[in-house]
C-alpha cells in the first residue's frame, strides 16, 4: 500500500527536476529546509530522524538536492522527506513537507480491533513492516 503523507502525496512520485523546483520555491519564500528519514512511517509518527541540521542561508535548490541524494545513498530503502519551515511570527511551523524517497515494497498497515466494555471497539493501526526490528523493515 502506497503511503500518502504530506503535500503532493496523491501525485505520482516527483522526478528530481520537480523536487528541485519545489525546493526552489520554498527557498524563495524564505523557508528553512531540512531532510528527515525513517523506516516507521506510521501516520502518527511525527518523530522522523534528522539528516543533518536544518539548512539556512542557501540560495539554490541544488544544495538541498545534494543532501537528499546523500541521504538516499545512505538509506536507499527508507522514507525520506523534505520539510520547509517558516519562521515568520504567527506561522512558526512547517509550511511544506513532502516525501522524496520511499521503499520499493510497502506492505502497508493492519487494523487491530479491540473489544472494550459494552461492545466498544478501539482501533489501532500497525505497520506490517514495523513488526520487524529497526533497520530490517524494508
Amino acid at each position: 500500500m502506497r503511503i500518502t503523507q504530506g503535500t503532493f502525496s496523491f501525485l505520482p512520485d516527483f522526478t528530481d527536476e520537480e523536487i528541485k523546483s519545489q525546493i526552489q520555491y520554498a527557498i524563495e519564500q524564505g523557508w528553512a529546509l531540512s531532510i528527515e528519514f525513517t523506516d516507521d512511517a506510521h501516520p502518527r509518527n511525527t518523530y522522523w530522524e534528522m539528516w543533518g541540521q536544518p539548512m539556512f542561508d542557501l540560495r539554490d535548490a541544488a544544495a538541498i538536492l545534494y543532501e537528499v541524494n546523500a541521504c538516499r545513498k545512505a538509506y536507499p530503502g527508507r522514507y525520506i522527506k523534505v520539510n520547509a519551515f517558516d519562521s515568520t511570527r504567527g506561522f512558526e511551523t512547517m509550511r511544506l513537507s513532502f516525501i522524496v524517497n520511499r521503499p520499493t515494497d510497502e506492505p502497508g498497515f493492519g487494523l487491530v480491533r479491540q473489544e472494550g466494555a459494552g461492545r466498544n471497539i478501539r482501533y489501532t493501526i500497525t505497520g506490517y513492516a514495523a513488526t520487524r526490528a529497526e533497520g530490517e523493515r524494508y
Binding site: 503535500t7 519545489q22 539554490d60 544544495a63 545534494y66
Partner: protein
C-alpha cells in the same frame, strides 16, 4: 496543493529569454541572440569600470562568445555540454583579482551559466576545521551555500600545508575536487592568490590544476593605468585633482612603484585615502572662511606632496 509550484523566477536568464520557435535545421541569428542576452552591456560596463587587465577582459569575452554559441547549438539540437568554468586568478597584490571575481559572478549570471549569481568569498578558515571530522561538514556547508553562484577562495594556497602532513586542508581540497567535478552545473569555483605561491600549490595538487580550465594571470598595472584608476576612484567618491595635484600624483606613482610593498591599485587607493585625510585637515585649518562645493571636492598638490614617498632620505636608504 499544486499551487505551491513556482517556476524559477529569473529575469536575466538566457534560457527564459530565448525564442522557442527555432528548432531543427533553420539558421540561427547569432546577432539577435547576442542582442537579447545584453552581453554587450556587461562587457561595456567591464571596460568602463576596470582599467587595463587586457588578458582578463579577452578571456571573459571568449567565455561569453562560447556560451552564446552553445545557446545557438542547443537551438539546432546539437549537443552543448556545459563547459567547465572553474578559474584560477593569479597575480600580484592589488591587481584586481577579488574585484574581477565579484564581477564574474554577475557576468556568468547574465550569460545564464549560473542560476543565482551570488558570490561566496571564503578563505582557509571557512573551509578547514579544527579537529578530526570537523572539516568535511564545514567545507560542504560552504559549498552548499555557494551553489547557484560562484565560490571564491582567496589565497587558496593556504589550503595546502606541506609541512604538516596531518593538516586538514588536504581533506577540504578533496571534497572541493569532488564537488567541482560532479556538480559542475551548480557552481563555479574561482581560486585566487599570488603567482609564485599558487604555482607551488598547483604543483603539489595536480588534480586541482587539471580541473581548472581557465588560468588567468593578472598583470601589474602601468603608471598610466594607475593614474586612470586613481581618477576613477576619485570620480566614484566625488573628488577630483586640481591640475597641479594631478601632476604631483603622476610623480607620486613613479616614485611609489620603485618602493617595496607596492600593491598596485590598493596602494593607489590608500594614497588617495591619506590625501583625503590631509585635505580634510587643511580645510579644517581654514575654518574661518566659507567653503564652496569646489573646495570640498578638490584635492590640491600639497596633499599629494606631503606623502612620505617624496621624502628624499627615504629614497636613498633601502627600507626593509
Amino acid at each position: 496543493m499544486t499551487t505551491a509550484t513556482a517556476p524559477l523566477a529569473d529575469g536575466h536568464d538566457l534560457q527564459s529569454s530565448a525564442p522557442p520557435n527555432v528548432a531543427g535545421e533553420g539558421p540561427v541569428d547569432l546577432a539577435s541572440l547576442f542582442e537579447e542576452s545584453r552581453i554587450q552591456e556587461v562587457l561595456d560596463q567591464l571596460d568602463r569600470e576596470l582599467v587595463g587587465l587586457k588578458p582578463v577582459k579577452n578571456r571573459i569575452r571568449e567565455i561569453a562568445a562560447l556560451l552564446l554559441v552553445d545557446r545557438a547549438r542547443k537551438q539546432l539540437g546539437l549537443s552543448a555540454a556545459a563547459p567547465s568554468l572553474h578559474m584560477s586568478f593569479t597575480g600580484n597584490p592589488g591587481t584586481g583579482k577579488t574585484t574581477v571575481a565579484m564581477r564574474m559572478a554577475q557576468i556568468l549570471h547574465r550569460l545564464g551559466y549560473v542560476r543565482k549569481g551570488h558570490l561566496v568569498a571564503v578563505t582557509r578558515d571557512d573551509l578547514v576545521g579544527q579537529y578530526i571530522g570537523h572539516t568535511a561538514p564545514k567545507t560542504k556547508e560552504i559549498l552548499k551555500r555557494a551553489m547557484g553562484g560562484v565560490l571564491f577562495i582567496d589565497e587558496a594556497y593556504y589550503l595546502y600545508r606541506p609541512e604538516n602532513e596531518r593538516d586538514y586542508g588536504q581533506e577540504a581540497i578533496e571534497i572541493l575536487l569532488q564537488v567541482m567535478e560532479n556538480q559542475r552545473d551548480d557552481l563555479v569555483v574561482i581560486v585566487a592568490g599570488y603567482q609564485d605561491r599558487m604555482e607551488r600549490f598547483f604543483h603539489s595538487n595536480p588534480g586541482l590544476s587539471s580541473r581548472i580550465a581557465h588560468h588567468l594571470e593578472f598583470p601589474d598595472y602601468s603608471a598610466e593605468e594607475l593614474l586612470a584608476i586613481a581618477k576613477l576612484i576619485l570620480q566614484q567618491s566625488e573628488y577630483r585633482f586640481s591640475p597641479a595635484a594631478e601632476a604631483a600624483f603622476q610623480d607620486y606613482i613613479a616614485r611609489r612603484i620603485t618602493l617595496p610593498h607596492f600593491a598596485n591599485a590598493r596602494s593607489i587607493r590608500n594614497a588617495l585615502d591619506r590625501a583625503r585625510l590631509r585635505q580634510a585637515n587643511r580645510l579644517f585649518g581654514e575654518r574661518g572662511r566659507k567653503l564652496s562645493r569646489q573646495d570640498l571636492v578638490t584635492l590640491e598638490a600639497e596633499e599629494i606632496r606631503a606623502s612620505r614617498v617624496f621624502d628624499e632620505t627615504l629614497l636613498r636608504q633601502t627600507p626593509s
